[in-house]
C-alpha cells in the first residue's frame, strides 16, 4: 500500500479499516543468502539497501525482541555531519544526504526536520578548532557557518551568553542538521525492506554461529538453525556479547548513556544546541518536550539505566546555559547501552571468519549514521568491498595505527 494524503482521507472516511500491517509477521525459512542479526535502525536499513540497491533477495533480519526496541528507540534523534576527520566526514555527509531524501524514498513520514544544529564556542582556541572543523566539513561537501554571538541571539535570545566560566563567543552552525522521528526510521525501513521481500523475524535471538573450517554457515537461534551464505552482525550495544559466540574480542566497551525529556512546553528552541563544554545538548520535540542529554556515565554497563550523578551533571549544564530550564519539570529519563570503541569511531568490516561480517562500535553517534551505515554495510555484504565513504572503518586500524580519533583521547572509551 502506498501512503498518501488521499489515502489518509479515504481511510478516515471508511473507519481506518484498510491500513493493514506495515510488514509481515513471518516464520524463518531454513536458509537465506543474507542474514542480518539485529532489527534496529542499522540492521533494517542494511536489509533495505541490500534489496533495493544491490538487488538481493533471500534476505532476513533476525531480531531478539521487537524491531526498533533498542537504541533506535532510545536516542535523542539528532542528525548532523559536523565531523573533522577524513575517515568520518564523507561518511556522515553521505548519511545526511540520504536523510534528505529518505521520506520520499521510503514513502514514509519520518518527520525529517532540518532545523539546524549549533555548537557553542566559549574561547578563542575553541573558535579556531571549530573554524578548522567547519572548513573540513565544507571541503567534504557539507555546510557550515560560523556565527557571531549576535547572530546566535537572534534565534536563541534566552541563552546565558555572559556565563562567567563559559561565555558564549559564537557558534558553528550546520543548517542542514536537525532531528528525525527515530521510531519512524525503524518502521519506515522495515516496511520498505518487507515490500522488497525481506523477511523480518522478531522474537528470534541468535544463540550461536555455525562455523566450520573458518567459514560461517549460519546461525543457531531460539527458533532453530538458519543457514546463510553471509551473516552480518548489527547489534551495537551488545556487539561484544554476540561476537564472543564467534570467539572474537572487540575493541569495544559497552557503556550506558542517559537521555532526558521535559514536560511539553510551547515552541522555544528552533534548532539543536550543543554546549559541549558543559556536557549538555538540547532540542525540542514536536510534542513540545525539551529533549536533552550529556555525557555517558563512564563505566561498563549493559543495564539500560544510569545513575544520579550524571543526571545532576546534565541538569547543571542545562541550567548554566538555559537558566529558564529550571522552571520545566523533568518528565522522563532513560538509558541506552552503546558500543564505545577505542577511538570513538565505528567499524564496518569483514571478520576473520569467512561469511561473517561486523557493523558496530557506533558510540553515542549511531542514529545519525543509520542510512549510510545500512548502505555501506549492504555494499560490503553484497560486493565484499567497503563502500567508498567507509573504507577507514576497519578492525585492523588499531593494529596499524590508523585510528579515527576525533577528539584525540586515545584508547579510553569513556572519554570519547
Amino acid at each position: 500500500m502506498r501512503y498518501s494524503g488521499f489515502r489518509v482521507i479515504k481511510e478516515a472516511l471508511t473507519g481506518h479499516r484498510g491500513w493493514g500491517p506495515a510488514w509481515r509477521d513471518i516464520d524463518p525459512k531454513s536458509s537465506y543468502d543474507y542474514i542480518i542479526i539485529g532489527g534496529g535502525g542499522h540492521g533494517l536499513a542494511t536489509a533495505y539497501y541490500l534489496a533495493k540497491e544491490f538487488g538481493k533477495s533471500r534476505v532476513a533480519v533476525l531480531e531478539k525482541d521487537w524491531i526498533g526496541g533498542g537504541n533506535v528507540g532510545r536516542n535523542t534523534t539528532i542528525i548532523r555531519s559536523n565531523y573533522l576527520l577524513d575517515g568520518n566526514e564523507p561518511f556522515y555527509e553521505f548519511s545526511l544526504k540520504l536523510w534528505e531524501g529518505l521520506e520520499q524514498e521510503l514513502n514514509y513520514n519520518a518527520m525529517v526536520s532540518q532545523r539546524g544544529i549549533l555548537n557553542l564556542i566559549h574561547s578563542d582556541a575553541q573558535r579556531d578548532a571549530f573554524i578548522r572543523r567547519g572548513n573540513a566539513m565544507i571541503l567534504n561537501g557539507a555546510d557550515a557557518e560560523l556565527l557571531s554571538t549576535e547572530q546566535i541571539l537572534k534565534s536563541y535570545p534566552f541563552l546565558n551568553v555572559d556565563n562567567a566560566r563559559f561565555p558564549i563567543m559564537g557558534g558553528l552552525a550546520q543548517h542542514r542538521g536537525g532531528t528525525v522521528r527515530h521510531d519512524a526510521v525503524a518502521w519506515g525501513y522495515a516496511r520498505g525492506a518487507d515490500q522488497r521481500g525481506v523477511d523480518i523475524i522478531q522474537n528470534c535471538e541468535v544463540t550461536g554461529f555455525k562455523i566450520e573450517n573458518g567459514r560461517c554457515l549460519g546461525v543457531d537461534t531460539t527458533r532453530g538453525f538458519i543457514g546463510a551464505q553471509k551473516v552480518g552482525a548489527c547489534v551495537a550495544g551488545s556487539s561484544s556479547r554476540l561476537m564472543a559466540k564467534a570467539s572474537m574480542r572487540l575493541p569495544i566497551e559497552t557503556h550506558v548513556l542517559q537521555a532526558f525529556v521535559s514536560e511539553g512546553i510551547k515552541p522555544l528552541l528552533p534548532g539543536v544546541i550543543t554546549f559541549g563544554a558543559g556536557h549538555f545538548y538540547c532540542s525540542q520535540s514536536d510534542k513540545g518536550g525539551l529533549v536533552f542529554g550529556g555525557d555517558i556515565d563512564g563505566y561498563n554497563s549493559y543495564a539500560q539505566r544510569g545513575n544520579l550523578p550524571v543526571i545532576e551533571d546534565v541538569c547543571e549544564g542545562g541550567m548554566a546555559i538555559l537558566p529558564m530550564l529550571g522552571r520545566a519539570r523533568l518528565l522522563r529519563s532513560w538509558g541506552g547501552v552503546m558500543d564505545m570503541s577505542m577511538d570513538g569511531s565505528p567499524i564496518i568490516d569483514r571478520t576473520h571468519v569467512d561469511g561473517l561480517y561486523f557493523n558496530g562500535g557506533w558510540c553515542y553517534g549511531g542514529f545519525k549514521a543509520t542510512p549510510a551505515s545500512g548502505f555501506a554495510y549492504a555494499h560490503l555484504l553484497a560486493t565484499d568491498t567497503p563502500h567508498q565513504t567507509a573504507t577507514a572503518y576497519r578492525f585492523d586500524r588499531f593494529a596499524t595505527g590508523r585510528m579515527i580519533d576525533e577528539k584525540g583521547m586515545g584508547n579510553q572509551p569513556n572519554l570519547h
Binding site: 574480542r249 575493541p251 563505566y299 554497563s301 545513575n307 588499531f398 569513556n414
Partner: protein, 95 residues
C-alpha cells in the same frame, strides 16, 4: 553507586575515576618476541562481559588509591572491592 573502599568505607562512585578492565594491571613484557601483538591486544581488545566484571577505579577525590572493583554490568551491584596494590603484590608483581 557506592564503592566500599577497603580503607575508607563506603564512598560515592562519583569520587572515583573509572579506567576499565582490571586486566590492565597485567602489562605485557615489552621485551617479548611478540611484544607488539601483545600490546595491541592489551591496549585495544576487551572482554566486555555482560555480568561480573573486575575493573579499575581510581579514588581521585579521596586517598588516590587504585581499587579493583568486582561489579555486575547488568545490575551495577558491587560484590567485592580490593586494593589494586594488594592484588598485584599477591601475584608477586609489586615490591
Amino acid at each position: 553507586m557506592l564503592i566500599n573502599h577497603p580503607i575508607l568505607g563506603p564512598r560515592d562512585a562519583s569520587e572515583f575515576v573509572y579506567l576499565g578492565d582490571a586486566n590492565l594491571i597485567h602489562r605485557p613484557d615489552w621485551q617479548a618476541e611478540d611484544a607488539l601483538a601483545q600490546f595491541t591486544k592489551y591496549g585495544y581488545l576487551r572482554d566486555n562481559p555482560a555480568g561480573e566484571h573486575r575493573e579499575l577505579w581510581f579514588h581521585e577525590q579521596g586517598d588516590r588509591s587504585w581499587l579493583i572493583v568486582t561489579r555486575n554490568t547488568l545490575t551495577h551491584e558491587i560484590s567485592k572491592v580490593e586494593m589494586a596494590r594488594d592484588v598485584a603484590s599477591a601475584e608477586g608483581r609489586s615490591k
